[in-house]
């Protein structure tokens, strides 16, 4: 594997994964035979390149994890672009996320985001604060993602006794292509 390749693989992973990721995890994904020193060296080169050119995207280090994000200098533009045409209320977004968790639990944030097609950090925070969902451990895979489940509060709120009382998904025909 060429050095340049390593750099670009790391770049691709940081982009697609979106969440903070550690050297150890990157090491595992790129090539276990490489030393973690090598990975760290390459990611530092990448960080420097992005910084030097003042690129639109930057790589930041948080604790001992790395994440890709937009350059602070362009925050004004990003705000403008993320302004949605049709805004959802927090209640709508919450209801959607809660429904997904109710039916698919235990579920991770990334799985929820893949169903909804948007990042869900804020909504998950709201749901946790209102005690409608809870963290139920971590998955033993890359990033050790938190898994979420609904709470008894949730059952009380929608007036059911147990999860089985939710409208069954089986009565909905799975659409097949």
């Amino acid at each position: 594997m060429k050095r340049e390749d390593i750099k670009h693989i790391i770049e691709a992973i940081l982009f697609a994964y979106g969440e903070p990721i550690s050297i150890k995890e990157l090491n595992y994904i790129v090539n276990e035979d490489l030393s973690s020193k090598e990975i760290e060296y390459m990611i530092n080169i990448l960080i420097e390149e992005y910084k030097e050119q003042n690129r639109g995207v930057q790589i930041i280090k948080l604790e001992n994890k790395y994440q890709m994000c937009t350059n602070k200098d362009y925050a004004g533009y990003i705000k403008k672009v993320l302004e949605p045409k049709k805004k959802k209320t927090l209640s709508q977004a919450t209801l959607e996320t809660l429904t997904i968790i109710a039916y698919k639990q235990p579920i991770t944030k990334i799985e929820i985001e893949n169903i909804r097609g948007v990042k869900c950090d804020k909504v998950l925070q709201t749901l946790l604060e209102n005690d409608l969902i809870r963290e139920a451990g971590r998955l033993n895979k890359i990033g050790k993602p938190i898994i979420y489940k609904t709470t008894n509060e949730f059952l009380k709120l929608i007036n059911i006794e147990k999860l089985e009382d939710l409208p069954p998904l089986e009565t909905y025909e799975n659409s097949e292509l």
Partner: protein, 242 residues
């Protein structure tokens, strides 16, 4: 010895027709309408025998083929240059269908069934900062389920049943052979009868089938037909061979 019969399922009447034509390795322009009609009806017959569903589209096409066939017989006899070949419309339809059918094979080959490219999810921006717990109810969940899981509510089942019922009521396909037998039975009891009498309450498909069976019976000399003046009713009588 056991035979393994595998019946090919077609997407529709055009799919079936096109397959019949390609099996004969002939050009769509050169189709023999009577041959293709025969094979088409044979396939429907097979479906019926195997108790498989025959949708209304297949039946409509069957009557259409019979219609084209009879019009083509007249067209050939008249040898009228002015008149359009009754097969033309069907041929054009088949030509058009063929293009898309082949193009869809190409598209199928291009489909990558697993994502090779990965994208990022957008941040979600919401209007208000407050959540209203009253908005969360079992009804609300029910309402958004189809949108979230892209599942279809099973109300389709009822329409399906209606469709099936419809098919049983009006979907029976009438073969020319069947009609011939029916006509023979009537002739055993009656010396003669009127054409309009026997096509009373028949739909278009059945009228065509009746008409074709009469032609067959005339050919076999089982019946003779008499018509006093044009557009008058046709009287059907036993022929010399019966």
């Amino acid at each position: 010895m056991k035979y393994n019969i595998q019946l090919q399922v077609y997407e529709g009447p055009l799919d079936l027709l096109y397959d019949l034509i390609s099996k004969q390795k002939i050009d769509i322009k050169d189709i023999s309408i009577s041959e293709i009609t025969k094979q088409y009806l044979k396939y429907l017959d097979l479906l019926e025998k195997m108790d498989l569903e025959i949708t209304s589209e297949f039946i409509t096409m069957a009557s259409k083929l019979l219609e084209i066939k009879s019009r083509y017989l007249l067209y050939k006899q008249k040898d009228d240059e002015e008149e359009e070949d009754p097969r033309l419309e069907l041929m054009e339809k088949l030509e058009e269908y063929k293009k898309f059918k082949i193009a869809s094979q190409d598209i199928k080959e291009n489909v990558s069934y697993i994502n090779e490219r990965f994208y990022r999810n957008k941040e979600e921006i919401v209007v208000d900062e407050k959540i209203d717990l009253d908005d969360i109810s079992i009804e609300a969940i029910k309402n958004i389920l189809p949108y979230i899981f892209k599942v279809r509510i099973s109300e389709e089942k009822t329409t399906n049943n209606d469709e099936k019922l419809n098919k049983i009521v009006r979907g029976r396909i009438i073969s020319v052979e069947e009609k011939m037998t029916e006509l023979r039975t009537i002739l055993e009891e009656n010396q003669e009868f009127m054409f309009t009498k026997i096509i009373n309450n028949c739909d278009k498909d059945e009228v065509i089938a009746t008409f074709l069976s009469i032609l067959e019976l005339i050919k076999a000399k089982e019946i003779v037909v008499i018509q006093d003046i044009f557009f008058d009713d046709i009287i059907i009588k036993k022929g010399s061979e019966m």
